[in-house]
């Protein structure tokens, strides 16, 4: 156990995000409606129906300083929603997120800028997360300008050069535009930008899933190296358990917006408790294993198919 005075850097309690899809397209009614009564101006009470989508439900976890927690799950399970809630891009319906003791939902005046400094995010798609009209130098300098106490042009220039070199680019690359770089290099730029505010907490939302394996290895190594150098705490979102096994100290498995398993990486990978975790583990492609297409697995695929994916009509048993 850690000493009580060393509070975790990130603490998420009972985080829930629901969407009420009261608007319907072309009047089409999705399944799983929740009734609610509304009083019309005429005094009549009308039954309108509004579906409630549970994107994330009662998710709690904590990340100690300098550690990495990874969230894994299929698409649509709420991984990115959790990342965005923790990043403060979305507002939670219920529950709280504390980063370095500051409530992300109600940071207050000073808290907001402190949060912006301490917490940064790297997005999945390096093609759309960089402004195509800005030179790389401006992209990386922007957080420094916005967050530093008294920005001074020379200091900013020096800082940007240093950041570009840290992520494996050259200082002269700062003069170029994002389109001149490959996917992996763009992700390096995005990482440099995230580090520009000198954060202590980095949220990585599928940072390598748009990249080739060889480039993925480069980016994962870079992230680990930067984590060691700056003592970064990381929330790492990925669908790939093999990637996660390399990056994370702890793994949380999300299924239909709920955390179905949370524990140390080795425990989860060697003794998965939850059936869903075992399914995920089984579907990781393995070079040494040649899957037999004995038709049991094919039947399994047909039966389970994509069921349970739709958060509106999901069941309670997972």
């Amino acid at each position: 156990m850690r000493m009580s005075f060393e509070t975790p850097l990130v603490e998420v309690v009972n985080l829930t995000k629901t969407y009420s899809g009261s608007r319907t397209w072309f009047g089409r009614r999705p399944t799983g409606w929740v009734r609610s009564g509304t009083v019309l101006p005429s005094g009549k009470r009308e039954e309108i129906h509004s579906p409630i989508v549970h994107a994330v439900e009662a998710v709690s976890f904590r990340i100690e300083r300098g550690r990495t927690l990874a969230l894994v799950g299929e698409s649509g399970c709420g991984k990115t929603t959790v990342a965005r809630l923790v990043a403060g891009i979305l507002k939670p319906t219920r529950g709280t997120v504390h980063v370095a003791g500051i409530d992300v939902g109600r940071p207050g005046k000073h808290g907001a800028s402190a949060l912006a400094r301490s917490r940064q995010m790297v997005f999945q798609d390096p093609y759309s997360s960089l402004n195509p009209r800005w030179r790389v130098r401006s992209i990386v300098a922007e957080p420094i300008k916005a967050l530093a106490q008294r920005p001074n042009t020379q200091d900013i220039d020096r800082e940007v050069d240093c950041l570009l070199e840290q992520v494996g680019l050259r200082a002269v690359d700062g003069k170029r535009y994002p389109h001149e770089f490959s996917g992996g290099q763009r992700q390096r730029i995005a990482i440099a930008r995230a580090l520009a505010g000198r954060p202590s907490f980095l949220i990585c939302d599928e940072p390598t899933s748009a990249l080739d394996v060889s480039v993925q290895a480069q980016i994962l190594n870079l992230l680990k190296e930067l984590q060691a150098r700056h003592g970064l705490t990381m929330l790492f979102i990925s669908h790939d358990l093999a990637v996660v096994s390399h990056m994370a100290d702890e793994i949380g498995v999300l299924c239909d917006g709920r955390l179905c398993e949370l524990g140390a990486t080795d425990t989860i990978l060697t003794q998965p408790r939850h059936a869903y975790t075992r399914t995920l583990l089984k579907s990781v492609p393995d070079l040494s294993r040649r899957r037999r297409s004995s038709d049991n697995s094919a039947k399994f695929a047909v039966q389970t198919g994509d069921r349970g994916r739709n958060p509106i009509e999901r069941s309670d048993d997972c």
């Binding site: 995920l280 579907s283 393995d286 040649r290």
Partner: protein, 346 residues
Amino acid sequence: MTALLEVEKLRIELDRESGSAILVDDVSFAVEAGQILGIAGESGAGKSLIGASILGLLQSPTRQTAGTVRLAGKLLDTRSEKAMRRVRGSRIGAIFQDPMTALNPLLSVGAQLIETMHAHLDISRAEARERAVDWLHEVGIHDPKTRVDGYPHSFSGGMRQRIVIALALCASPQLVIADEPTTALDVRTQAQIVELLQRLARNHGTAIVLICHDLGILAQIADHVLVLYAGRTVESGATAQVLGSPCHPYSRGLINSIPMIGDSRGQLAQIEGTMPSATTRPPGCAFHPRCPDRFEPCDRWTPQLKEIACNPKDPMAETGRSLACWLHSGADREKDRDRRWLCSCG
């Protein structure tokens, strides 16, 4: 027995104002009926161009400037749109990466299947509809009788990819070109789609050219693998051999950079640098600037793709495995240019 698909010395060039750049050079391979050939490599290696070229779908300014494509022994005129229209769909099917854009959003999936079968097979629409339902069932769509009238937007990504597979296979082509069919899907769906492809190839005797950057998937289902780097084949052979004991430093680097569950959590092996573009290819072996084992001939002469001799006692024995790397040339490499590469395992 001749192979179903034979591609020989394929070359694809990009026309530019300042002369042409070679994107794919001297690529040859063959696929037999019921077999799966995997083409691996990083983005920009020219994998998809090869697929597009076999389908006759290369678009200006890229064009095929040399090489032949034979399907069941007959030469395909891949440069003639008229000839290829008859071949595409009926004899060669195609599955593309993104199931979100491969389907027409304004037509029900049934209509798309019926249209394809009606165009290529000699059957009535009613019969085509019946077969469409059967196909949806075969690719694992629930309740195909009702879903056949559904529109693409009402299916999830994995389901749409199943429909795309049904579309590619419904006119019973002999060959299917699958260009990154699972890249847009997540792991669990990916595993399902891969199994589906393998099952269909086996049951229908369809040959598949599977273009895929994920070596894990190729290891599971491909019979043969061809590793492409900067438009040239660097290594090819049976999957177990190429992925199990790779000879080329590039294939080895690619395999080592895949994170594996159960490995220690240290540094991942990585290949330094990035692949050169078609205009900035270095002389000699295109991989040499990134190669950890480069030595003196690498930056001067391009190694030719030649068969590997595995057994030192019988160097001319068929191994079905090719390589292009000076590391395996033996001591007297300049004396005998026609000699085979030597396998490091032998």
